[in-house]
Amino acid sequence: MAEKMREGGVMTAGEPNAGQAGTRGHKPQTHRAQQKAITQGLRRFFDSVASEPVPDEFMAILQKIDGKKDADA
């Protein structure tokens, strides 16, 4: 067990990518497609939140602070 771990450590030290999940056996095209899908998926998530209707609280903040400023002036 300990020997195996040591062996693994040596391999990793000699070859930075050895043993790293996700890099094994990838064809470059598959890899690129997957990376693109990840970026697009994140973008889709971001856009879906950004297209939600804005809760009223947000406008209330803008109005409240404006009101305070007018009162100060």
């Binding site: 996700g22 297209s51 804005v54 803008l62």
Partner: protein, 210 residues
């Protein structure tokens, strides 16, 4: 330790906005609310916490409006405020450190409103496993900003952003592919966000001195 707002790095002293500038600024804020909410949701996961964060950002931005230089990138300026709020809240409230794990991780709040496919929810579950600095690097560069802009927002070198993005993508890829066990189950805790904060602080410091 909050990073100063970008305008602090310029030599011009802040001056009060003119009436027109003030109006543009306010309109700009209104326009930016949706992306602020999206950025906050990406970082926090939970809808209500994210909306609180976005609202605090808005309030801070209004208070600091004289520090904004009209004509510069309002979105980037707001994102800097948002992430400052996010990281300083994390330091203050360590009790929320595991909120993403507790219920937000796979709750409806993390799901997009009209979500397209199961794959997207797998992706977002995997995304939640990433350290915060990798999440923000990915989200910022997924469409809203260039690498240079993302680096300016995060106050780090462009190379740091690139390496975070690349590590994050690699990690996501392996998580999404290895559905049979590599992607942690809902009950498993992701990395403690507080740790991520301190790691983040260190990596910035290292870069600054390196």
């Amino acid at each position: 330790m909050n990073r100063p707002l970008p305008s602090h790095e310029h030599h011009e002293a802040p001056r009060p906005m003119t009436k027109d500038e003030e109006r543009d600024f306010r309109n700009g804020l209104v326009e930016m609310v949706p992306v602020l909410r999206a950025f906050a949701r990406s970082l926090c996961g939970k809808r209500d916490l994210a909306d609180d964060l976005a609202q605090e950002t808005l309030a801070k931005a209004l208070q600091a409006r004289d520090k904004f230089r009209p004509g510069t990138n309002l979105k980037a300026w707001l994102f800097v405020i948002l992430r400052n709020e996010f990281y300083s809240n994390h330091r203050r409230a360590k009790t929320v450190a595991n909120y993403a794990a507790a219920e937000g991780l796979h709750s409806e709040s993390m799901e997009p409103e009209q979500h397209a496919s199961l794959d997207l929810s797998d992706l977002m579950r995997a995304f939640n496993q990433l350290p915060f600095e990798q999440k923000e690097a990915l989200i910022l560069t997924a469409g809203e900003f260039s690498y240079d802009e993302a680096a300016a927002i995060c106050g780090c070198a462009v190379g740091t952003i690139k390496s975070r993005v690349s590590r994050a993508r690699k990690r996501l890829e392996s998580l999404v592919e290895g559905k049979d066990g590599v992607l942690p189950s809902r009950s498993e805790q992701p990395e403690d966000p507080t740790d991520a904060f301190f790691k983040f602080g260190r990596s910035v410091t290292e870069k600054a001195h390196g």
